[in-house]
Each structure stands twice: as structure tokens, then as C-alpha cells.
């Protein structure tokens, strides 16, 4: 090999612009000597992954100033969720980060369960993990396909979306929806796992490692890909922490941190997986972290599947009738069930007063959900700590000194989903 250049070592000191950490201003001397051109990149540009607008100051090919302008996809989810009952809110959550939808749904449901102090059956815990990991693979496939596409590797897009389609089919099989499933309920799962799922999911688990080898074969020996990603858009560990980075971006900068391992939720302390950490903090390492994570996620899915196969016939949702709808057939025979059903559908359940902040490791990093309850049937305040929002804050630091062609690679590697950024 050795066609691609050696990786640059990571810079010392800080590259965070001052005084505004998220805006790179054109230096005064460049303004006088250089030929500065201001370019609006987006908000409707095919490679901005949504409606992101970058105001870029160019001096020839070099980026000397940048400001990210967001808010084009602000839909007021947090305001809307204050108006809805607790369980109607579940429908909103996955639409925030529409690529890592299962994680949003999960973090919201976990936060409500924490306020309720509600236990969840074992089967639901393992199925939530399985779907969250499938969703992580899905999200990384979308990242990989689109990022490679932007750098000219068009075939990667088709390969990635082939595997993504398998995941969407699995999702449809279980939940009836390909995306935005609303399958996680407060207390467990909406429905039992269908019989055919186990075999189909097994096929996917057996297939995925091969597919990952194919991706590596296509990209990791591709000189153009290596030249365009290595040493580009670097972010060192201190800067990443100072800018509240999380997830793959942080791990690519050499910080060994994964909430699944370090602050376990669900049953992540009972599965075996490795946390990939790379140290150059560049576009290439972010891609490698996500590649390795897909392999690890496949292993977790495999372990969840083995566990779930032993849990066939077990309950998938808690039996607490104050929170969970009674089974349909009971409504014909039990007055009590009918009353519970009516109360839950018309008014919803009440959640005790309190405030919680729950965090999980979403495909993009630390997905947090802050909920304040007044003790009523609707939340007082719901706030999502969006990893994409934090990731875009690092744009100016990463782009510092880059070329305009690298800009696309860098923004792609931060993997921000605009729905998650703007909420």
C-alpha cells in the first residue's frame, strides 16, 4: 500500500476560534492581503445533509472564515410535546433525529419510566437493545453511504443502502413501520415480537460482517478516499471535550468513552462488546470508529437475539394497568379493564412530580432527555440534548485551515442530522 500520505500527528494547543468558539473570523491581515470571497453554502445544497447553511470566507481554495447558521428545520418539538400526553409524546421523539430514530424514542421512554419508577420486563429490555443497535447500524450506513457519495465513491451508496434496506425490512416486520416506529412504550414494547423475526434477524446478523468486509475493501484500499480523509478536519481531545463532543467524534479524537460501557443502561453491562478508539481525530478516524461500531453492534444484536430466543412466550410489557393499556380481549369481560382503558385513552396516565436527565449513547453520541413533570398527565418541560447540535459546534474548530473541498468531508464526518440539531 503506502500510496496515501502518512497521517499527520494531532496538533497541540487549541484550534477553537476566539472570541466566539463557533465562528471563525477572517484574520485582519488576510482581509487586507488576500482575495476574500464569501460563499453561501446551503441551506439547500445536496451535500449539507439537510438544511444547514454555512457562510464561508474563501481565500482562493483555503477556508479562512466560517459560520454555521442553523434553525431552518426548527419545528418546535419541545413546545409541542408540552401540549401532548406522555404517551403521545413518544410519537414525536423519533422524528427529532430522523435517522437515529430508535434512540430518541428510547431515551424519552426511559426518562418517563425513571420518573414513574417503573420496571420493565426482561424481554422488553433485550428487544430495546436489539432495535437500538440495529438502528445504530442503520444510522452509520446512512452516514457511510452519503459521505462516500460526496467524496465521489458512488457505488458505496448503493451497497450501504442495500444493507439499510434489510434493517428497514426487519423494522417493518416487528413494528409495522420502516422508520419512526413508536414501538417502545412506557413499560415495555407495543407488541410481542413476531415469530418470523428471529430467523430473519439471524440472516442479517450472518450477512452483515461480510458486507462490512466489502465496504472496507472498497474504501480502505482506495487512494482517493484515503487522501481525502486522512489528516483532514482534525480535532484533538482537549478541544473535543471543551466543545461538549460525544460519541464517534469524541472516540475518534482519542477519548475512550462510551455511555453503553461507562454508564450502562438497559442490559449493556451483560453483553460483550469493544469500544473502538482512534487517536488522530480526523475524518478518516471518525469513519473508522463508525465502521468498527457497526461490527460491534452486529455482535450485540447477535447476543440479544440469543437471549430473546430463550425468552419466547414471556411478557413484553409491564402489567401495571395505571400506565399500560389492558389487553383488548379483557375489555369484553372486565369492567375494571374498561375503566382503565377509557382513562388511559382519554386522559392518559399521570407521572409524579420531579425532574430527570437521562442519557444514552445514540449513533451520534450522548442523547439526553430532560423532563420536568408537574404531576399531571402532560409533561411540563421536555428537552432533548442533541448530539448533532454539539457536533456542529465543532465545525469552526475542525475547518480551521482546511480547503474548500475538505469542507464537505468534514461536515459529513461530524454526522449531524438537522432534525436533531434544530429540533
Amino acid at each position: 500500500m503506502a500510496i496515501a500520505p502518512e497521517k499527520q500527528t494531532l496538533y497541540q494547543g487549541t484550534r477553537i476560534p476566539a472570541p466566539v468558539p463557533t465562528i471563525l473570523h477572517v484574520p485582519e491581515e488576510r482581509r487586507e492581503t488576500g482575495d476574500i470571497m464569501q460563499v453561501n453554502f446551503g441551506p439547500n445544497h445536496p451535500s449539507t445533509h439537510g438544511v444547514l447553511r454555512l457562510i464561508v470566507d474563501l481565500d482562493g481554495e483555503e477556508v479562512v472564515g466560517i459560520e454555521a447558521v442553523i434553525g431552518y428545520l426548527h419545528t418546535g418539538f419541545e413546545k409541542s410535546m408540552e401540549q401532548k400526553t406522555w404517551w403521545k409524546g413518544i410519537t414525536y421523539a423519533p422524528r427529532i433525529d430522523y435517522v437515529g430514530y430508535q434512540s430518541n424514542e428510547l431515551v424519552y421512554v426511559l426518562a418517563v419510566e425513571k420518573l414513574l419508577q417503573l420496571g420493565v420486563p426482561e424481554k422488553a429490555v433485550w428487544m430495546r437493545m436489539l432495535l437500538a443497535e440495529l438502528n445504530r447500524i442503520h444510522s452509520h450506513l446512512v452516514f457511510l453511504g452519503t459521505s462516500a457519495l460526496e467524496l465521489g465513491a458512488i457505488s458505496m451508496f448503493w451497497y450501504c443502502f442495500r444493507e439499510r434496506e434489510m434493517i428497514l425490512d426487519l423494522s417493518e416486520l416487528v413494528t409495522g413501520q420502516r422508520m419512526h416506529t413508536r414501538y417502545f412504550q412506557v413499560g415495555g414494547l407495543a407488541e410481542d415480537i413476531p415469530e418470523g423475526f428471529y430467523a430473519e434477524c439471524r440472516k442479517f446478523v450472518d450477512w452483515m460482517p461480510q458486507a462490512l468486509d466489502d465496504y472496507l475493501g472498497l474504501l480502505d484500499r482506495n487512494t482517493i478516499w484515503l487522501e481525502r480523509t486522512r489528516g483532514v478536519g482534525q480535532l484533538n481531545a482537549e478541544d473535543a471535550l471543551a466543545l461538549s463532543q460525544s460519541g464517534p467524534v469524541l472516540r475518534a479524537s482519542g477519548v475512550d468513552w462510551d455511555l453503553r460501557r461507562d454508564q450502562p443502561y438497559l442490559a449493556y453491562d451483560q453483553v460483550d462488546f469493544r469500544v473502538p478508539v482512534y487517536e488522530h481525530g480526523d475524518v478518516y478516524d471518525r469513519y473508522r470508529v463508525r465502521m468498527d461500531e457497526m461490527r460491534e453492534s452486529t455482535r450485540i444484536v447477535d447476543q440479544c437475539l440469543r437471549r430473546l430466543e430463550r425468552l419466547k412466550g414471556r411478557p413484553w410489557i409491564t402489567d401495571n394497568r395505571k400506565v399500560v393499556l389492558p389487553p383488548r380481549e379483557e375489555l369484553h369481560t372486565s369492567m375494571e379493564s374498561l375503566i382503565h382503558h377509557f382513562k388511559l385513552v382519554t386522559e392518559g396516565f399521570r407521572v409524579p412530580e420531579g425532574e430527570v436527565y437521562v442519557t444514552i449513547e445514540s449513533p451520534r453520541g450522548e442523547q439526553g432527555c430532560y423532563i420536568v413533570s408537574q404531576g399531571g398527565p402532560r409533561p411540563w418541560r421536555v428537552h432533548f440534548r442533541a448530539p448533532s447540535f454539539a457536533a456542529l459546534e465543532a465545525t469552526a474548530a475542525c475547518v480551521n485551515g482546511a480547503l474548500v473541498a475538505d469542507l464537505i468531508a468534514i461536515v459529513g464526518s461530524l454526522d449531524a442530522v438537522m432534525g436533531d440539531v434544530d429540533r
Binding site: 463532543q245 382519554t346 436527565y357 404531576g375 399531571g376
Partner: protein, 182 residues
């Protein structure tokens, strides 16, 4: 005696649902954040979240809620609260979620309270990542941060009037273009 009593401006610290909330005085928030980072090892600011408590504990009386147009299906709470919640010291709360990232991870929420016309010190000098978090809070709640280098609206257009996440900001209040009503 908890480790938090030495925090500048410490008012109280409470433990609920496994989470620590440290209430600090509004004037000391920057010093408290710097203290948590330098002395207690909270090296990451996970996020800043504001909450508007206007009308807290004053929901409609028990019974049917009717509106001028009849029953509002978006307000399924047909009964008042069963118990009145604990009253809050001021209208807005600001929560700083801190994380001590490392082998022994811990989380804490530094909380401070302020009224509508009050401002709070910016923590951008402590954590650069606070930049957008504070701008978002300003945009949504109108809380001003003293010393923020670029305090402008972040998500809403710059000429937007009002602060959407305040409780007195109406839902459906904005005009809908090309609608029948226009």
C-alpha cells in the same frame, strides 16, 4: 457534609431519583462551574437547559375543561392535579448538566433561578461548548447571558418576536400563510 458545600454561591444540594441537583446563587454560576471543572473534575458540559415555571401548580380546577370553541381535544387533562407541586423560587430555572468523564463517571446538575428581568453570567469562558447552548436558551426563553461574545437568536429568525418556549407564548399564535384565514 457533601463535597458541594464549598461550591461558590452554594444554596443547597438535593438527591432525587439518583440525580444530584446543586442549587447555586445566580451571581455565582460562573464561579460554581469553574469550581466544578477545576476542583471536582467535571470536565464536560453536557448541556444547558432552561425551564419556565410560569403557572406552575396552577392548572385548571378539578373538572371538565371547556374552551370557547367547545372541548379542546389537545387538552385531555379533564381533572386538576391531585396534589399541588412544590413551589419554585423564581420563574425560570437554568440547569447546567455536568459530566465527569473518566473511569469513575459522575453527573450533576447545577441549578440557578432567575426572574424575567434578571440576567446571568455566561460560562463560555469556562466551556466553549456553552456558546450555542446559551444562544438557544436566549432564543427560546429570552434569558440574557452577560459576557456572551455573540448573543443572538440561533434557531428562530433574527427578527422574530417573542420567545417560543415561554409558557405565555401561545401555540398556534403565528399567522399561517396562504390559509383561508389570511
Amino acid at each position: 457534609m457533601s463535597e458541594w458545600v464549598h461550591t461558590p454561591g452554594h444554596v443547597k444540594d438535593t438527591e432525587a431519583l439518583g440525580e444530584t441537583t446543586v442549587t447555586v446563587e445566580r451571581a455565582s454560576i460562573r464561579a460554581a462551574c469553574a469550581h466544578a471543572r477545576d476542583e471536582l473534575g467535571f470536565n464536560v458540559l453536557s448541556g444547558i437547559v432552561a425551564t419556565d415555571y410560569l403557572g406552575w401548580g396552577r392548572p385548571g380546577v378539578s373538572g371538565y375543561i371547556g374552551t370557547a370553541q367547545g372541548r379542546d381535544i389537545n387538552f385531555p387533562a379533564t381533572q386538576g392535579l391531585q396534589t399541588l407541586p412544590e413551589l419554585k423560587p423564581a420563574r425560570f430555572s437554568l440547569g447546567y448538566h455536568l459530566l465527569a468523564l473518566g473511569r469513575d463517571p459522575r453527573r450533576v446538575r447545577l441549578q440557578t433561578w432567575l426572574e424575567e428581568d434578571e440576567t446571568v453570567d455566561s460560562v463560555v469562558s469556562v466551556w466553549p461548548g456553552a456558546d450555542w447552548y446559551e444562544r438557544e436558551v436566549f432564543d427560546m426563553f429570552g434569558i440574557r447571558f452577560d459576557g456572551h461574545p455573540y448573543l443572538r437568536r440561533l434557531l428562530m429568525p433574527e427578527d422574530w418576536e417573542g420567545f417560543p418556549l415561554r409558557k405565555d407564548y401561545p401555540i398556534g399564535g403565528e399567522p399561517v400563510r396562504f390559509s383561508e384565514a389570511e
